[in-house]
């Protein structure tokens, strides 16, 4: 949850958002099990968006990513040298694209559940994921890290 909210990039106070999600879940009338995942992640996404509207961060996401995980090329191997480009590409993605990436890569959420969480058609999710991964791959490519 923390990573999703962070990658949304709306606000600085991710802990506040996590706390707010917890309280909302605690108070909510839980939906049926078959729709729970979509409901739960939509709650997370909407909480991040709402909090962002109230307390929008002044920092760009790339800058914040640099703060939480500074580049350590020597520790992480040569691949990490592409991290700045990847970081910048992430920052350039729209929040909706980052949400899809987060839900797919951090939570391994099925596409249908991502669609439910974002309240968009399945095709939109596919389109967003395709676009996001294409751009992130291009970021690697600019640093010569794509495979031939």
């Amino acid at each position: 949850m923390h990573r999703i909210l962070f990658l949304q990039g709306y606000c600085d106070e991710v802990d506040d958002a996590v706390q707010e999600v917890f309280i909302k879940v605690f108070r909510a009338e839980l939906p049926a099990e078959e729709v729970f995942l979509g409901w739960f992640y939509r709650l997370i996404l909407n909480t991040g968006r709402d909090l962002g509207r109230r307390r929008r961060t002044r920092q760009g996401l790339a800058q914040r990513l640099e703060q939480v995980a500074p580049a350590r090329p020597h520790d992480e191997g040569p691949r990490a040298a592409a991290d700045p480009a990847l970081r910048a590409a992430l920052g350039d993605l729209g929040p909706e694209l980052r949400e899809v990436v987060a839900l797919r890569y951090f939570v391994d959420l099925p596409l249908e559940e991502i669609a439910a969480a974002q309240d968009v058609p399945l095709g939109t999710v596919k389109s967003r994921l395709h676009t996001a991964m294409k751009r992130l791959r291009e970021a690697l490519e600019t640093h010569g890290f794509v495979h031939d």
């Binding site: 917890f22 605690f26 939480v68 058609p121 389109s127 994921l129 676009t131």
Partner: protein, 309 residues
Amino acid sequence: MTDTPDKNTEADARDEGATPSVPDNGATPSVPDERSRTTVPDERARLDDDRLLAYALGLDDDAELAAALAEDEELRRRLDALQADLDEVGAGLERLVPAPDEVYADPAAARWDGLRPFLAPPPERRTARRRWRVLVPALGAILAVAVVGAFVLRSGPLVSQRSTDEAGTAAESADAPAVGADASKSAHGAGDLAADLELFETAFVARAGEVADGRQRFTVVRQVKGTVTGDVYVKVVDRPIPAETLTLVMFGTGALGADGDVPVPARTALDAEALQRIRATAFLTLDAQGVSAVVIPLPPDVDLDQLLP
């Protein structure tokens, strides 16, 4: 919960640079349209990277591409390379957005102070006893002094004690203040009240207002704990507080409506048994969308500076 439906789905997809091969209608995302097939007859151009990417991401089964992969080693090599790139992106994401450490989820951490009322284990006998050690003496003392005070005022010399139930009846009578001014100072002074307030996230002194549609208005006079301003409306469960009565109102959480006058769910740290007992005595519970609040009517001449911690 505040839902924020995404109203820009189609526009988003276009703005986000969705490739023509990934339509926004839920249809097969990777198959180029008919025109591109006829105008670009080259097999490799037709099975371009966008289409391979959609396949690698599992966005589409793409039977045509699958068949081509079975026959074309070069195409398989391209797909493998693409898959390796995606793995690289995934590894990069893991590095750039590290998962919080284990300490992060520790409910005892200071960052989760606001969740403490929610994280508390279900009320156990020991917990209830601990709460009663705080509440019962305070409530009992207030009631006893209130009854004695009322009795003295009405009947002259002190002649007897009353049970708490009788005390409740007396204290709840509309005309008589529930707690004498002296009582609030001596029997429920700042120290006792501070202990009571520990159980709540929000507390404020308010002047009781009118009741309409089963809800009573309370105009905040002084914040004691949490942030509340303006008018607060709560549903009356037991009975309304007489209008103009100065009242101490306590909620389980500080989450009142942003505009201050919309009741929202609040959970009290008190367990149900304790609330029941309180309701049986002089204190009244009100309800904010199904969750109890506790109110203590104060005498009109109460010195808030002395009463409040």
